[in-house]
Symmetry: C2
Subunit: 441 residues, 2 copies
Amino acid sequence: MSAQRDQLALLPKWVVPVVPEGEVLLDTAVIVQGERIVDIIPASEVVNRYPNATTKPLSTHALIPGLVNAHGHSPMVLMRGLADDLPLMEWLTKHIWPTEQAFAGEDFVRAGSALAAVEMLTGGTTCFNDNYFFPNITAEVVKASGMRAVLGLPVMNVPTIWAEDEAGYIEKGLQVLEESEPNSRIGWAWAPHAPYTVTDASFERLGALTEEFDFKLHLHLLETADEIEQSLAEHGKHPIDRLVDLGLYNDRLIAAHMTQLTDDQVAQTAEAGVHILHCPAANMKLASGFCRVDDLDQAGANIAIGTDGAASNNRLDMFAEMRLASLIAKGFSLNPVAAPATRSLSMATIQGAKALGLDDGIGSIEVGKQADLVAVDLDVPGTTPVHHVISHLVYVVSRSQVSDVWVAGQACVSDRRVVGLDQESVVSEAIEWGLKMHKKQ
Amino acid sequence: MSAQRDQLALLPKWVVPVVPEGEVLLDTAVIVQGERIVDIIPASEVVNRYPNATTKPLSTHALIPGLVNAHGHSPMVLMRGLADDLPLMEWLTKHIWPTEQAFAGEDFVRAGSALAAVEMLTGGTTCFNDNYFFPNITAEVVKASGMRAVLGLPVMNVPTIWAEDEAGYIEKGLQVLEESEPNSRIGWAWAPHAPYTVTDASFERLGALTEEFDFKLHLHLLETADEIEQSLAEHGKHPIDRLVDLGLYNDRLIAAHMTQLTDDQVAQTAEAGVHILHCPAANMKLASGFCRVDDLDQAGANIAIGTDGAASNNRLDMFAEMRLASLIAKGFSLNPVAAPATRSLSMATIQGAKALGLDDGIGSIEVGKQADLVAVDLDVPGTTPVHHVISHLVYVVSRSQVSDVWVAGQACVSDRRVVGLDQESVVSEAIEWGLKMHKKQ
């Protein structure tokens, strides 16, 4: 094939580039060549300027950047809905942890990551930031699926099948890095679990390792009020103060949840450049408290959106999560102007990319960026009429309206089905895992 | 056709009857004859006991009672996403009211009601409680669609195309009742807009009329904190106290929103038998405040769920609303056990039916009840695996998974499309209305 024949001209009804925020382009074509977006031109000029491009009409569709799921535990999709509506500790100790102990090995992670990849890709998510055991296995699935991920190397002082103690986890992480083959779609992060499961010594070592590898530090932080009490009792200081003292409260830190912030801490977090991985559904479902999205946003903090694991959500659905981010920001702050649709779409794309340090390459539809693109079909009764397409993308669209997805210029979802994985096998294997877990219960 | 040939045997994977709450039946057939559910039997017995029934295999589906949307303004779907992310009064006075003034006549109501019927039916809603101008026109659409509705006869002291003053509204309402032909799927309610737009004299007259006609009184109540201030200033009393004094705070009252309740008012409301029409998305989107669902539920109040109008939601999606009801009840009360999935499903079905006084006929899958039934296909990656089907119905399922809907035994949605209305014409007419509104802006 000649280079010209590799050109793809996407012809959507609306292009929503996300940068600049709020912009909507009509009668516009996006030209993809190889991995990249190479041009954005009036649709009428395609015939003359790219006469050999393959054209893809998307006459009732919006084209948006691939969504970035900024916090999750992808293999936990196999535990989706296993236990709900329970107090946090009962949920964890009687259901989630025993199930993980019984099942969460390599095969579980392979099957779960594959189901999560299918679920996320078909729902318009092209990149996810994960934290789970066997990230090397998840990496294999990500490669096959064609999608993009930043995979956490977990560290905590709780023994699991993955490692015995913090030093063991770090060793396993280094081993994964050593054995992994470089892949342009896969990045890594050090992922200490939470302040209450990681010692100062390990945090210090991880601080050095993030510098050495130029990684992000992916941490659960301030998920609940209890965490603060515990830190005050054990360390004599608030978790944020502890991280500051450890030299970790800076723009390498990508902190999931971040409920419970005081006014001063809102300002401090924005100034430090800490990235917030906001998980609205999981915070509500586990009754953890609210993230002060409107205040953090006004203070200039970078907020990304994540689904968290499917055991506490119970879906890896960034459209549902964007909507919830806007709704709860308004509801909680009692400010109807908080987290407008344009901002939630940014949080779910460019701001997610920024948190992961990938915003030079992804997160928006701009010439030169990677062609991570999602076509959303607005031609369903429930999204009719379309007064403002960005409002619809956030408040009305369901992930079932995603028709096509490209990552790095490759079609990953075509006609609503994944291309790189055998979707039927993935689903039937997940059903088998579900049955196995039932027998154990 | 013989009576026997009219029998329909539905063979879902799961039957979720809702009454009793939490029950899930496997290997079970639901037999429909005429308008009603006539039997619920082991699937293996269908061949012998109903040999001439038409069988409908639903091998990957859950069968649930039709969802009841307990509060809305259906024609406002045409204003879906017209204006968002604005302060309440700017939204109302600069966008919603001027648009209504310019457009909201009979044709608008006909087109909007039809789009709402298509949206609701294809999303599993079989019955809705409405309040808008030209309810006689909405009634025509409801009849054609095959769905069920309780239509409000609006009353307020604001002049509109429908009436000039409160007496005029009441007159119009009486005229609608006079001219309407009885229909078993359509009920009526008196629908005073809100305490701040209705005088004591009109409330008293409506109290007498609800008794006379044996109707419910459908009212916006305590949507915002401002409403309380205004009532204290104008009437010298809290809106609830005013309604108590007017003799209207009782089980005829179906009250939408109900944020801002004190502890005493939670108990008082439950004791009075006032039905709460909870609108979680609209309350969050307009930053109105939170309804104390967990407290009201524990006090024994009957809570139903409504989408409100699409201008403030922006969708008429009872699956999204159930999920949000569970999530926000937990998030707001900081109690992860609040509004479990089983309860949100009840709120969206039998409790909605109870609020509308229809629970003898609809709201659950029980022998003798109307066959208002919804088949939900669980065979999609995002709802795999299924550990607990009710959890999935609330936390994971999207309305796009609704495959078939029956109302009073008649197929209203088949193969994901409405049967009684011309879906394509309805959608294209709605698109036309959208374009007209744009030209005006």
